[in-house]
Symmetry: C2
Subunit: 371 residues, 2 copies
């Protein structure tokens, strides 16, 4: 905050709120925040009264640092929760300081910023987008434990998914089994909801990766790309695999080989001191030899998050990203290739180590074929 010229930070990204205070709950559908002030010993949580109870349960904050706005400010067109935040700011002298705001946090709406500016016309707001996200980039031992637990969960989810995909089975029934497996977790520890639902685009829809399941039935002669994540205490371990029912076309089998070779090259490149774009270049060198190009990024930092994304909005494995990788960063490397009517998506969630990206999961890395 000092380096960024910020005295008081309004944290509205739910993952950042969790990281700083432990706060956990599905309450980001109403406005809420955690405030860090360089002058105060503890963060301050501000939200809806009934969610203050949740803050008492999940955070280490003293009761006096859990504040709320009147409940009739919820989804009201006449009062904005930020009106109350502005009052609190005035009472604590924050309004005379440089306040950082997360301009690109999903739930920090344009209207929230407008309400703050209107109530605090003389305050100097600074864009603090992703400031806390970048602090989260290297994972602690405890965080890596949660992600290892999440890896055990996603291995089960993927196994169940692949087993259940058969000609004549409805997509929704496979999605249902995957959900159950992910939420139940293992006998030792339970699972959590993922920040994106199971994605299982199939057949000709496979090139539209963010469509969710339908009632349609899986068909012989079609491929399905499964992209799933296990979750433990909001820490994700994502994994993608592709399944084909029947004999895959030859070009699909050769594309799978190229993806696997390119993925391995990317993982090998993920050593401390390498840049994000160099990792992408390692992949690109392999696939361009085979005449394949891919415009979108091949991976991103992952770990702690809430819907709608399990990416951390920091590192992207793509040209132009010169972030130096460091040990114990965690990335989802997900190089997909989509062509007319089919796609190959095979990924690994890895930890950066001196030997390269070490997969958190132990799961066969191949094109799955079910005859």
């Amino acid at each position: 905050m000092e380096k960024a010229g910020i005295d008081v930070l309004f944290v509205t990204d739910p993952a950042n709120m969790n990281y700083l205070t432990g706060y956990d709950g599905w309450s980001f559908y109403v406005h809420q925040m955690v405030v860090l002030s360089l002058d105060e010993p503890e963060p301050v949580w501000i939200g809806r009264p009934m969610d203050g109870n949740g803050a008492q349960v999940t955070t280490y904050l003293k009761d006096e640092n859990i504040l709320d706005y009147p409940d009739d400010f919820v989804q009201s067109d006449s009062n904005h929760p930020m009106d109350r935040v502005a009052e609190i700011a005035k009472s604590r002298g924050w309004h005379r300081k440089r306040i950082g705001v997360e301009m690109e946090a999903y739930y920090f709406t344009a209207g929230a910023m407008e309400a703050l500016r209107k109530n605090l016309p003389r305050t100097r707001f600074k864009d603090a987008r992703h400031l806390v996200n970048w602090v989260r980039i290297i994972k602690s031992r405890k965080e890596l434990e949660y992600m290892a637990d999440a890896a055990r969960i996603v291995e089960r989810m993927m196994r169940i998914g692949i087993q259940n995909i058969e000609p004549g089975i409805r997509q929704c029934d496979v999605a249902a089994e995957i959900w159950r497996t992910g939420v139940a977790g293992t006998r030792k520890f339970g699972g959590d909801y993922p920040s994106l639902p199971p994605m299982l685009p199939t057949g000709s829809g496979i090139a539209a990766p963010h469509l969710t399941w339908t009632d349609e039935r899986f068909k012989h002669g079609e491929g399905t790309a499964l992209e799933l994540a296990g979750v433990r205490h909001r820490y994700h371990c994502p994994m993608a695999r592709t399944v084909f029912l029947g004999q895959p076309p030859k070009k699909m089998r050769s594309a799978a080989k190229v993806v696997l070779e390119g993925l391995q090259a990317a993982l090998d490149a993920m050593t401390p001191g390498t840049t994000a774009e160099e990792v992408e270049a390692a992949w690109r060198r392999v696939v361009s030899r085979h005449g394949i190009t891919k415009e979108s990024r091949i991976g991103y930092s992952t770990g702690l998050n809430y819907p709608p994304d399990w990416g951390e909005h920091t590192i992207s494995l793509r040209p132009g990203d010169r972030t130096l990788l460091q040990e114990n960063m965690t990335l989802h490397c997900v190089p997909a290739i989509a062509m007319e009517g089919w796609a190959i998506e095979i990924s690994e969630c890895v930890r950066v180590t001196p030997k390269g990206g070490k997969p958190l999961c132990d799961f066969p890395r191949k094109l799955f074929v079910r005859r």
Copy 2:
């Protein structure tokens, strides 16, 4: 739009995008929008290239009206997708018109608005918050069919939830069965992901309604409030019930009676021409006779939505909301009472009819007791 003085509307709320074009996909974790211009025959979809494929599959739009921004604008600190939107606006002359923006749509960030203003400094932006939401308030026959399907699904979810809650069973295992049931749906039609996960606060955590499940086990002598929704084609039917393991304390049983009486009074009041606040007053009259007050709203409009909320952000059943109810509005009436260490939450999702609020579900309305 004409009444609101708007020529061009930038629609960023995923439910509104769906309502206007059919677009459906879990892609709201990147910036996207649908643009309505009074001068153009069809809406325009703008998003990430790979999601343009999804727009081709799910919308009625002509290919020429599905536009995208370069993929490396995704979660980039140097380029904003709204930079591209501004270019498109200039090329179509929208920048000289009055542009409406949804200031309170979850995914329309403060940074998105800032990027638009920077690129289009002379454009007059108008706050169009909830403009489309209010258009959605009365449900068509087709929408009511989807909600009836969702009701069949949530009846199953609730039955499974109540059956599975037993002393010694982990919360995550009950949540897992509820998820599976909701996503699988019925034999005739599949289910969809709900916009909030199953909520099942239990024991002393019951007063913190938005905490999600843990690995803890259900205990004899404790109550659990289940709040769930079935979903069909993104249309929700929510339902809440409370379960107690063992003999409920006397004050809890009498509170349940009060809640049921108050809920019935509210439903009876839900006739066309009644105001939202009069419905709340009908509930309040009953419960205040028993010395109970509740500060938060007792219900809201529901139907089509995406995470993080299944409410439609229009009607709230609370003092000050003078919206006149009309036939075929759909509301979730969810009057909960929370005390130290316990709560009673029993709800109905209803359609407004001349005879009052007609529940979409057919499910016993009581405090469930499992001995």
